[in-house]
Amino acid sequence: MSARQLDPGTTEPEAGPLKLVATLTIAGLLSGVAIVGAWQTTRPTILAYQAQVLKAAVFKVVPGAQGLQRLAWQGQTLAAEADPGGEGDDTPVVYGAYDASGALIGYAIPAEGAGFQDKIGLIYGYDPDASKIVGLRVLDSRETPGLGDKIIKDQEFVHGWDDLSTTPSIELVAHGKKAAPNQVEAISGATISSKAVMRIVSGSYADWAERLPKRADAPRQEITPAASPAKEVAP
């Protein structure tokens, strides 16, 4: 674009202010109608996909899960949160993972934080009765391809979180140095991204897991066949 093109031509006959305002208003109105139309049409598909992605992630990090529901703190009690409050809503939530009978078998906790390059978003499964982390998946990351993105691709690292004791606390050790049930091995060559994942999980764990109720005290899932469990994802 050259500046000349942006400069409104002054030699042209002036259009009246009314016409200018009218043009912009009509353009705005039509544009609004078009966008809202597209939004309405695509919304169900987008939400269904997001719900599916979330469901897949929850079922992966809490093995054996059959159903899930959003849980949030309401005062001192953890309760099911029916519907997200819109895109601006950032009430922290966890997902309860349930077996077929509607009893809670674990929590899937989304967490995010700074990585080597950019934000890392992940979700991890937590079993409150055993005080164990039972699974972890990185959902969102822009870590260096071939290096930092091993936190997604390196199966050894990913499965290092499958049965991880949280007592007294989780620890990262160098590759091949795991000696205790509360230790995860870092990926060799991608120590920084491994560290970032550990930091994010530790931080979120301190915020969440310690006060999450045991299985028996957790809210049950209402089994209504029609209800699709997850409405919206904020991974």
Partner: protein, 334 residues
Amino acid sequence: MSSENLRLQVTAAPFTHSPRTTAAVMRDVSLALLPVLFAAVWYFGIVAILVVGTATLGAVLTDAVLGRQGWAGLKDGSAILTGVLLGLTLPPGIPLWMALLGGVAGIGLGKVVWGGLGHNIFNPALVGRAFLQAAFPITLTTWVAPGSGSLVSLPASTLAVPLLHVDAVSAATPLGLAKFQGTLTAVGPLLTGNVAGSLGETSAIILLAGGAYLMWRRAFDWRIPASIILTTAVLQAVASAIWPGLAPPQMMVFSGGLLLGAIYMATDPVSSPTTPRGAWIFGAGIATLVVLIRNWGGLPEGVMYAILLMNAASPLIERATQPRVFGRDKRRLL
């Protein structure tokens, strides 16, 4: 780059005339590098020669084929020097085809496209190294422990088939140990060079001796290494006094590529400022970046990046520190 600029006949920096020819300087630098190469062979075996040789081959061939002067352009020795320096920054176990590629990339992207010797903004050897580091991040940070093989044995990865990956055993460098495991290395091994690292960054004593020789021969601007080493030591002394977890200053100076970079890379007269004040600023800038990256960055080593960044800034430094021309009004930088 509009064509309306008047094409003046301008020679490239450095403008100061010196009785010493480029080729003579190159000879001195090569001479000073010989002990470094011997040390590399001593610690890592004959593979050091192979890596340095292949990198040099890549550099020389590229300069001869793509360079404007063809084979005649090799006479000043600068392409050979670039190749040798590049080779010395590589890890001992690097596959040879990568070393060759590094030489090609260094000369191609770092020198030929800029118009050849005297016109490049970045140090070609470091361009090659940075390209390799970005292309093969794992291989370029896979180190071999010194003395782990016999003089003539080769690491398994050396003869890897081009384009294919071979796993290699990795030892940690002193800087990596300090950063990721919190283990400090004593000054003794750093001085003698009995540590894992790039081929040329082993022995601090030998590197310093080479620097002293170059200074005596006036083959380089001593201000730049002096500024880098002093600033690094001072900044790290202050930083490690404030945050006791950081490595001590002596380790900062003697480990990794700091000395190799300060003495042989940063002093490249084409890609560094030519004014004395500019040289001090240039060095201090490199040191500041090194201290920042090593202490608070994601990478254990940052000398290469620090030098490349200051290479990029050196036209600005030069401009800001140029003595005012008589009769012209004070010209601000911006």
